[in-house]
Subunit: 402 residues, 2 copies
């Protein structure tokens, strides 16, 4: 068109690369935090939508309905009750801020605490979104070592001491203690105590992300870190994305008003979508237990299918811990396998996974790791996809041996 307008002179400098056009999900979709379509409680959501709209629909006429900018009051009340019953602590509804996914909560935490030049600490392997937020703020990002019980206290102590010697107080430690992302480990109580005491001693806040904590197959899982004594420096984050639906975009942060009021001032989005909040509050008040039990049964079966498929297809070439819950398997392949390269080949054949380097404070430290989410594909797709991935890996890197 002769009339076309060229925006290139107007677009700002310093932006991320433009997005690519979306071409649909991969056939073998092991990426992201997608969930199981069969696990969406459609009938229950229909009933809740009808009930809550008839009861409260008119309140959609105002921003934030009638609960104010912290979020729907019934959803905050559900969360206060659930945190008391299952996670061991009892926030007031005024200490809970509903966000558009936990990613949004983490963004508000970073924006409230980090200036360029500040320092933050994360687990050596951690949620890519949060690592990106910390780096994007211009803060220095330091990693602490993990073992199969989560953060190693000796590593944390050494990082904190090193910071102190440079007269630096890190703003926070970001941890996912209950089903870590990506490693799917659970930090036991004694470790939680050590991490709490160390961070408190050094004046460092703890950001505890429990967005997978509902998806724990062993019902003896530990209370949240925020539930333990002397844990007032813990900012608690959670989500509905992993045990209900990521497309609803509902998460939350629990923090004292001193900090929450600062996050709220930065949350200039006109509120989080109220229909989702209302419907989910109504649904969860009646069905939380049943729904989570059913989701966990489903996910545990898929975990078994994936682990079996990986064992068959990769044999000794893949090292991993069996996940205690959640939706991820974290694999270490032989050092000769570059998972960023493997990703490119796999995508071309319809197999999508997350390369480890994107989930690592030091990308080089996870060049041969990858993360598989087993929640979305059905069981036969899991088996086929893993077999296909092993074939591609074998063809490109000679391992696993065929």
């Amino acid at each position: 068109m002769s009339d076309a307008f060229d925006y290139s002179n107007l677009i700002a400098t310093g932006l991320p690369a433009p997005a690519a056009k979306w071409t649909g999900f991969a056939k073998y979709n092991f990426i992201g935090g997608h969930n199981d379509p069969e696990g969406i409680p459609v009938e229950g959501l229909v009933a809740s939508a009808e009930r809550v709209l008839k009861r409260r629909g008119q309140s959609l006429a105002t921003y934030n309905t009638d609960g104010g900018p912290l979020g729907d009051i019934e959803l905050r009340q559900f969360l206060a009750d659930k945190l008391q019953q299952y996670r061991g602590f009892t926030p007031s509804v005024d200490e809970i801020l509903i966000t558009s996914g936990s990613n949004h909560a983490l963004t508000l935490i970073c924006d409230s605490l980090l200036n360029a030049g500040d320092t933050a600490i994360a687990e050596e392997y951690s949620y890519a979104g949060m690592l990106g937020r910390i780096r994007g703020s211009g803060a220095e990002l330091l990693g602490v070592k993990l073992d199969n019980e989560g953060i190693r206290p000796d590593s944390l102590k050494s990082v904190l001491e090193d910071c102190r010697s440079r007269d630096v107080t890190p703003k926070f430690l970001f941890t996912i203690p209950t089903i870590q992302n990506p490693t799917s480990t659970v930090m036991p109580v004694h470790r939680r105590r050590e991490i709490l005491d160390l961070t408190r001693e050094y004046g460092v806040a703890v950001v505890e992300d429990e967005c997978y904590a509902d998806l724990m197959w062993d019902e003896t899982w530990p209370d949240s870190m925020r539930a333990m004594s002397r844990s007032e420096h813990v900012i608690h984050v959670g989500s509905f994305s992993k045990y209900l639906s990521p497309a609803l975009r509902l998460g939350y942060v629990v923090a004292p008003w001193q900090l929450l009021s600062q996050m709220l001032a930065l949350k200039n989005d006109g509120g989080t979508s109220a229909l989702s909040q209302m419907v989910v509050a109504d649904f969860m008040r009646e069905h939380y237990d049943d729904h989570v039990a059913s989701m966990n049964t489903r996910l545990e079966r898929k975990r078994d299918v994936l682990v079996e498929a990986v064992r068959e297809a990769f044999g000794d070439s893949a090292k991993y811990e069996i996940p205690a819950g959640g939706i991820y398997l974290w694999l270490k392949l032989p050092d000769s396998v570059d998972t960023l390269l493997l990703e490119r080949h796999a995508l071309a054949e319809g197999v999508a996974f997350n390369p480890g380097s994107q989930w690592s404070v030091d990308p080089d430290n996870a060049r041969s790791h990858l993360r598989l989410c087993f929640a979305n594909p059905d069981e036969s797709t899991i088996r086929e996809g893993v077999a296909k991935l092993a074939q591609i890996c074998s063809r490109e890197f000679g391992l696993p041996a065929t």
Copy 2:
């Protein structure tokens, strides 16, 4: 508590003031863009929620459901059809990005186009949220004069010439041509043509915000600016907040992929809430015409009640244009009235309105203006609230004379 943790050393510098605790809506609530509770189509939303959840509920298991990050495909299809039928142009569904309210769309536009030191132009009285976004980017904000047909071309020409003489190309002109916020005027076609030609000549994009355009009582309203020829430099923004519900947080932006791909790269929110999108798409495909007609009847009656109440209570002390649509009345009180001071007194007695200076590029230029939203209060509350406001104004400023 002896164990309390003091976050004050950890909170970032340069933040906005912390939020105040929410204490509920004012009794006489004339602020913001709240809507009419009676106008929420509860039964229709219930039916749509049931229908769409049964048909598509399982797709909530993935981020962004099955339509990708631009937003729900059925909602984008509805918008493409609606824009064709009512606003005069036909975007492809791949040129429409669903956002969490139009405010979010405007944020993405500012973030895509503005660096610190850039220049943007807005109408002298305009949407406070956008003025804040532009200022917050560090860009210079210039105002152009309005009359009762919108932007005065002579004023725009003079601003553009002045910029050119300083070798500055403003990034965009922000305009609300169809029911301007806050003045509620409509820019006629010949003006639109002049503004389009001028901006194009100077290489300046136009951000056209049509979030009130559905609420027009005269059905001969002009097509959007984007619908006119040689308008490829127009970025079109709209919303469901004003004719359906602000609490749903649904807006959109229409732009060429060159620019939209940049906005999409900045939209790192995991997607806009999918349940609201699905339900609204289903509802609007069946009920757009009926719903908008019913909402407009309701709002026109409230406009009449407000105008009559202002005439009775303020007499010659208040100057205004009768709104041609929308939800706002923009009042000019005598110069001796400082509406920021008036606001403080009024709030203490339960009357909330928006002081003009917050809706003005030059705050001093609207010190005696105020904006009343007539959509939310019922008719008797409108009458009582306006009478109360006039009493307070009279008591504090001697006008209107009692």
